[in-house]
Symmetry: C2
Subunit: 180 residues, 2 copies
């Protein structure tokens, strides 16, 4: 790694795809103040020091009222110089979450609509963003063939020098036992 | 996503695991100025506006003299408040690279040693870091069963509002054709 300390160049945004495995539905919202009413997964920016999974669970609850728990990391998007980021780069992670509650009580300040939508329908509708449609197809594959096909699982590992823990995400392989 | 612009909270570091598929070796370095001489993958911090894969290729070349090309994203690590980051959080990505040249000409200012090391040996040695050993096991699995088992493939996709391109990484599934 670099010998210079560097500086923060990225904001981190996280969205949560809460999948109800019992009926194949996923929790989606439509943002207020957008020109198109596209379905997307609820999410937002990480607070300083907040883990990816914690951001996803928090943002889903704040926007939709649904409680959930982290299951896996599904995708990473890197974007530079996009409008509204003021020269920062953006790392946007989409997580798979499992619902703990199901009643929707959405934030009317942030959202125009919020629904449990059929995953198959989300793969077909034109009322969504390209990234949401893509992840919906991944999730549908996972629902049919097992989420192990699409997940990056997370593990907490002690840092070698500081003794603090970090979170490591990668494909979980059958041959990888949980201790290192 | 948040209605507030937010601010940069993360630095992004990238390491490159350059795998020679013809002989099962991987390019590793030992940093100068560390208390233990642990083998690790060459890498460093992203420059502002630089893509993950470009950072990996650039850092590998700067540290080792080996030219390579990006193949996939293998893992993501998130770490908060670690020593040397001055309150920033750190997102550390490990990429799989394919070598284009093989001769080592390493940077003696940054590295103590640089070698093409047998992947199987890297999974067994105690002279490495936990994350390097873990990724070595992933890579060995990929070498034996196909890298499709461990890769997150990358695709460039036009942003819906700005028309700029972003990079999206996720599991490549047989059912996912390349257009959206």
């Amino acid at each position: 790694e670099s010998q210079l300390p560097g500086f923060a160049t990225h904001q981190v945004g996280v969205a949560g795809a809460v999948v109800d495995e019992s009926n194949g539905k996923v929790l989606v919202v439509q943002d207020r103040n957008k020109t198109t009413n596209a379905w997307k997964f609820p999410g937002g920016l990480s607070d300083p020091g907040e883990n990816i999974g914690a951001t996803a669970v928090r943002e889903v609850f704040e926007e939709t009222g649904v409680r959930s728990e982290f299951r896996s990391l599904l995708s990473v998007r890197q974007q530079h110089n996009h409008p509204g980021a003021f020269g920062m780069s953006d790392m946007y992670m989409i997580c798979r979450l499992r619902p703990l509650t199901y009643d929707i009580n959405f934030c009317t300040r942030e959202c125009l609509r919020c629904e449990w939508l059929d995953l198959a329908e989300l793969t077909r509708t034109s009322d969504t963003t390209p990234i949401t449609a893509r992840i919906a197809r991944l999730l549908l594959h996972g629902l049919e063939r097992g989420f192990g096909e699409i997940d990056l699982s997370m593990e907490e590992i002690p840092a070698i020098y500081s003794g603090r823990f970090y979170q490591l995400y990668h494909r979980q392989l059958p041959s990888l036992v949980t201790h290192i």
